[in-house]
């Protein structure tokens, strides 16, 4: 009888551990899902070269549709977007969505805004001189 009790105890303990593990994996996958979806969208919106640049260098350069000498350096991680003209970082720009979205979606947002409506993008963003930021 004692033997049977300990066997049942082991089985119940094992089942409880399996259930806890399953709950942990399930909640982890649910937490991961927005990031996976955002990455899929990012791959759709960026060219292969742009995606590679973003992964390897940590930023992607988006060409200005209005000024051939200007590019916007959009970081993969949270940070300021650099406006680069003729190789020099002229201005740092800060623009963010009012609601939280995954980081990859923020890169998508910058690319779409710059390419479709650069003027509004520049009007909406806060401008900082790169020197001022580096002094912080």
């Amino acid at each position: 009888m004692e033997m049977l009790g300990s066997v049942v105890g082991v089985i119940m303990g094992t089942l409880a551990l399996i259930l806890l593990g399953w709950l942990f994996v399930d909640s982890f996958l649910k937490w991961l899902e927005p990031y996976r979806r955002a990455d899929r969208l990012l791959r759709t919106v960026l060219t292969r070269a742009q995606y590679r640049q973003l992964m390897w260098r940590g930023y992607v350069d988006i060409k200005s549709p209005c000024d051939r000498k200007r590019v916007y350096r959009v970081p993969r991680d949270p940070g300021l977007v650099g406006m680069i003209e003729q190789g020099k970082r002229k201005v740092d720009l800060c623009l963010q969505p009012l609601e939280w979205v995954p980081g990859a979606d923020i890169v998508v947002m910058h690319k779409l805004m710059i390419e479709a409506d650069e003027e509004t993008y520049l009007q909406t963003a806060n401008h900082f001189t790169p020197k001022c930021i580096s002094e912080w």
């Binding site: 899902e33 927005p34 990031y35 996976r36 979806r37 955002a38 969208l41 919106v45 549709p65 800060c94 623009l95 963010q96 969505p97 009012l98 609601e99 939280w100 979205v101 995954p102 979606d105 998508v108 947002m109 690319k111 779409l112 805004m113 390419e115 479709a116 409506d117 909406t124 963003a125 806060n126």
Partner: protein, 81 residues
């Protein structure tokens, strides 16, 4: 085939529709277009901006829902940080 993607905290929400089927009077296809149009209007009302992506063409800002668009992405309202 059209696709509307709404960027959100969930990554993106998607709605598909088939304009060709809708033109032949398919009830489900028409309902899908109406649903996409409703979501488009709802998101615009909250300050979201819509962009149209077509292969080989520059990205275009979209003021009104276009069932002929193959890919629309809606970005939530943004502000200077």
């Amino acid at each position: 085939m059209g696709l509307l993607r709404v960027i959100s905290k969930r990554g993106d929400d998607r709605v598909y529709w088939n304009e060709q089927d809708a033109l032949t009077g398919d009830v489900e296809a028409n309902a899908a277009i109406r649903e996409a149009e409703r979501i488009f209007a709802r998101e615009r009302a909250t300050g979201a901006t819509a962009y149209r992506l077509e292969a080989g063409k520059p990205v275009e800002k979209l003021e009104q829902f276009d069932p002929q668009a193959s890919h629309i992405i809606m970005v939530p309202q943004v502000a200077g940080g």
